[in-house]
């Protein structure tokens, strides 16, 4: 058999033969090739993902399901997950991004949760690269076009510009939904004798073998032979959401799966395997858009806006009535049984049959050689003496605020409906997004972040820093951390140095999760993000979810009050390694990012939360890109207030002001609260650096800028 033609390896072919006890036929080979692609099988990373802690007091559902669920108390759960749609967005930006958003929404829906908010992680090439403008405007329009129409607000995100994403943009979509814990829909509950029902749009030739496409390098060639691209129909998705939630509230479904990569096959075989039932599907009963589709095409079609339901025959009539109301196609395409096999029939003839668990779990894992890059440590040695202090500090700060990755993203988030569903307390434009939960005091807090530059310099430290940044932001706002989801965007694992970076990044992230008690409840891996002109930086994207007990104790940023004292909580010796400042000066590979300190981080998180809970400050901001200087500029601009600041430390001012990394935050504290604030932070590095006054932001020995000038650069609404 010519298994290589379909993209299977010899070991994989042999594993299939031995599980089947015969040679697979062509249809089966095509199905196996897609189900065992990197994108669907995680064959290169499954063992690495085990490093992540995934259990905890608040974890209701961990990795392995459509999304993770954490406990919000009182029988309510938050289901969330992030997913990449990088390759499709590179080829067809609008549709790729739109279907990425649609797909993650269905993942959340599949658990029975109503999607309540989205966030997007966007990674674009250098602004002066000729295709960046059209890719970025197409992707942003696609995210908005879909999310706005389905009525799920996009409440925040992260946007990074770097030359490593030239022609290889990344789109990561995050979605969160709410579900009563006793109404969660599971893929493990199907029993023999139930019906397999397809709800939603008709099946066409969209994105056939898209999952396999996502697992190869992007070359000009792959753009020429594009799989027919998936088109998103948010209108159909909105109807699907309402129909599924109605079915669930009427308790008419036993189990539900969204159809993502590898379509019907992936979703149905997953239910069969997880529930431990057999399944027979009649593909001639699938409503088709193109009459001449072959069984393997139906098996692998990635047509959007479809859900697979498992229904008790007694409820079929009611299910069809709901489908009719929402004007959706609804077809019974098969049934479950007591066998152990997953079988596809075409007009009564068997065209494919597998042991139920083979498709999902049977792919032999793949280990790639790993090698630490030789020049890694060399890059860490950077002669600070060769770096002069800025001659013109004002210009240095303004230039930094204008670098594309730090500049305001209003042009992006203004295209997103961030308020629909009327729960958005803090929308885009702030370090975190906050949603109220109707009928409760507590607030959901969400952050999405990434720091690819530090991951490129030192993947272990960079991975830890990425996770830590999200948790610092949540802690400063007063949130308890419930868990996180991640998207691991990496280049080809077949290059030993790149595989090593992947391993190290995961270890670093896992170390931080352990230290801060933050379980990883869901995630996604996207490999092979490289083009003939280069590989992307290691880009883990992290979406972290927390809970703030009430509006009273939510500490926002950008709320300086006249006369407040300004404090820097945290050490002054951060690092310029991977900082926006060094990058903006053209030093990409220079210096080592700060070491991750498990104790320091945990201590910081505790005190930060306490500060918010005890109302010890009027404003707080965890330091992130651009360090203290940018935090001062943003807070000042958002508060429309100036400050006088002195930095009574011997460390170089550029390092103190522009350095990044480590558990640090900028607080403004009303004079009356200073003793309380000092008590909370006693025993932790704390520096009073100045006071809020006037309308100029002045740091002695560095910059001095009128607030008006800063607001014109950092405009928030």
């Amino acid at each position: 058999m010519d298994f290589k033609r379909y993209g299977l390896r010899k070991e994989e072919y042999e594993a299939a033969v031995s599980a089947l006890g015969r040679e697979p036929n062509e249809c089966e080979l095509r199905i196996l090739a897609v189900m065992w692609s990197e994108h669907c099988s995680y064959k290169s990373t499954k063992h690495l993902l085990r490093h992540f802690p995934s259990t905890g007091e608040k974890v209701v559902l961990g990795p392995g399901e459509n999304a993770g669920i954490v406990d919000l108390g009182d029988n309510l759960g938050a289901a969330f997950k992030a997913e990449s749609h990088n390759h499709p967005s590179a080829v067809a930006p609008y549709q790729g991004a739109a279907t990425g958003v649609g797909g993650i929404i269905r993942d959340i829906l599949a658990l029975g949760a109503r999607p309540v908010a989205s966030m997007d992680g966007l990674f674009f090439g250098s602004p002066d690269h000729p295709v960046t403008a059209s890719l970025s405007s197409g992707i942003v329009a696609g995210v908005g076009g879909y999310g706005n129409a389905v009525g799920v607000p996009t409440v925040g995100g992260k946007t990074v510009y770097d030359e490593c994403y030239n022609e290889n943009p990344l789109l990561n979509a995050f979605c969160i939904g709410l579900v009563p814990l006793d109404e969660i829909v599971s893929s493990k509950t199907a029993r023999p004798g139930q019906l397999v029902v397809l709800l939603g749009s008709k099946t066409g030739r969209d994105g056939i073998a898209g999952a396999a496409f996502a697992s190869v390098l992007l070359s000009d060639d792959s753009k020429a032979n594009k799989p027919s691209i998936q088109i998103g129909d948010p209108f159909a998705e909105k109807l699907l959401i309402e129909a599924c939630l109605e079915l669930q509230s009427k308790k008419l479904i036993v189990s539900m799966q969204d159809m993502g990569a590898a379509g019907i096959t992936s979703s149905s075989s997953e239910v069969a395997a997880k529930s431990g039932v057999g399944m027979i599907l009649h593909f001639d009963r699938v409503p088709l858009r193109a009459a001449d589709m072959e069984p393997w095409e139906i098996a692998l079609s990635e047509s959007q806006e479809r859900m697979l339901l498992i229904v008790d025959p007694l409820h079929l009539g009611e299910v069809q009535a709901v489908a009719e109301k929402w004007e959706l196609d609804c077809a019974v395409i098969g049934e479950t049984n007591e066998e152990d096999s997953y079988t596809i029939l075409w007009h009564g003839t068997e065209v494919a049959s597998f042991p139920a668990a083979l498709l999902g779990d049977g792919c032999p894992p793949r280990r790639w050689p790993s090698k630490k890059p030789e020049d890694l440590e060399k890059n860490w040695h950077f002669d600070m003496d060769s770096l002069p202090l800025p001659k013109d500090w004002n210009a240095a700060l303004l230039a930094l605020l204008e670098t594309p990755s730090l500049a305001p993203k209003e042009w992006i988030y203004r295209q997103y409906d961030s308020m629909v569903q009327t729960n958005t307390v803090t929308g885009p434009g702030h370090p975190l997004s906050v949603l109220r939960i109707r009928g409760r005091d507590s607030l959901l807090a969400l952050v999405l972040d990434a720091d690819p530059w530090k991951c490129a310099l030192d993947p272990h430290r960079g991975g830890a820093e990425t996770v830590a940044r999200t948790i610092r932001t949540l802690s400063v706002a007063g949130a308890d951390v419930l868990g996180l989801t991640d998207c691991l965007n990496f280049p080809s694992p077949e290059v030993p140095e790149q595989y090593w970076a992947l391993e190290e990044c995961i270890r670093g992230m896992a170390e931080c999760c352990e230290a801060l008690n933050c379980p990883v409840v869901s995630g996604n891996v996207s490999l092979y993000n490289e083009t003939p002109s280069g590989a992307i930086c290691p880009t883990p994207v992290v979406g972290t979810v927390g809970l703030i007990p009430s509006l009273e104790v939510y500490l926002p940023s950008g709320r300086w009050k006249e006369g407040d004292r300004l404090f820097l909580a945290g050490p002054c010796n951060s690092s310029l390694g991977g900082s926006q400042y060094l990058l903006s000066l053209g030093h990409r590979q220079a210096e080592r990012p700060l070491m991750f300190s498990p104790e320091g981080e945990a201590d910081f998180a505790e005190r930060a939360r306490k500060t918010a809970r005890m109302k010890g400050a009027s404003s707080g901001r965890a330091l992130a890109g651009g360090g203290l200087a940018v935090a001062l500029a943003k807070d000042g601009a958002e508060s429309s207030r100036g400050a006088r600041i002195a930095l009574p430390v011997p460390t170089r001012h550029d390092v103190v002001l522009f350095g990044e990394g480590g558990p640090r935050a900028l607080y403004s504290v009303p004079v009356g609260k200073v003793p309380l604030f000092r008590t909370i932070w006693k025993g932790y590095p704390l520096l009073e650096i100045g006071r809020v006054e006037g309308d100029t932001l002045t740091v002695e020995g560095a910059f001095s800028l009128p607030i008006g000038e800063l607001t014109s650069r950092w405009r928030v609404r």
């Binding site: 088109i231 858009r289 004007e327």
Partner: protein, 83 residues
């Protein structure tokens, strides 16, 4: 000399025409039961200065490739006439 070029853009066969589907559904429920299918595309008119019709056509084709048409999902036809 000025030419008017009409460009008719439509989705390729096999690409889901979300708009066409919705419009068709709506027209049928308004009672247009003889309707069998709807496709919705774009109608672009270009006024171009060029020495000959052929050159105007070539220029318009380049505009389609450069911007007007997304070849991944769309196809188009052109008509050129003297203004």
């Amino acid at each position: 000399m000025t030419w008017r070029i009409e460009v008719f853009i439509q989705l390729k066969e096999g690409v889901l025409d979300t708009q066409g589907k919705a419009v068709e559904h709506s027209l049928v429920s308004l009672g247009h039961t003889g309707l069998k299918r709807v496709k919705v595309g774009k109608y672009i008119q270009l006024w171009v200065d060029a020495p000959s019709a052929d050159q105007a056509r070539a220029e318009a084709e380049k505009m389609c490739a450069d911007l007007l048409v997304n070849e991944i999902i769309e196809g188009y036809t052109l008509e050129v006439e003297a203004e």
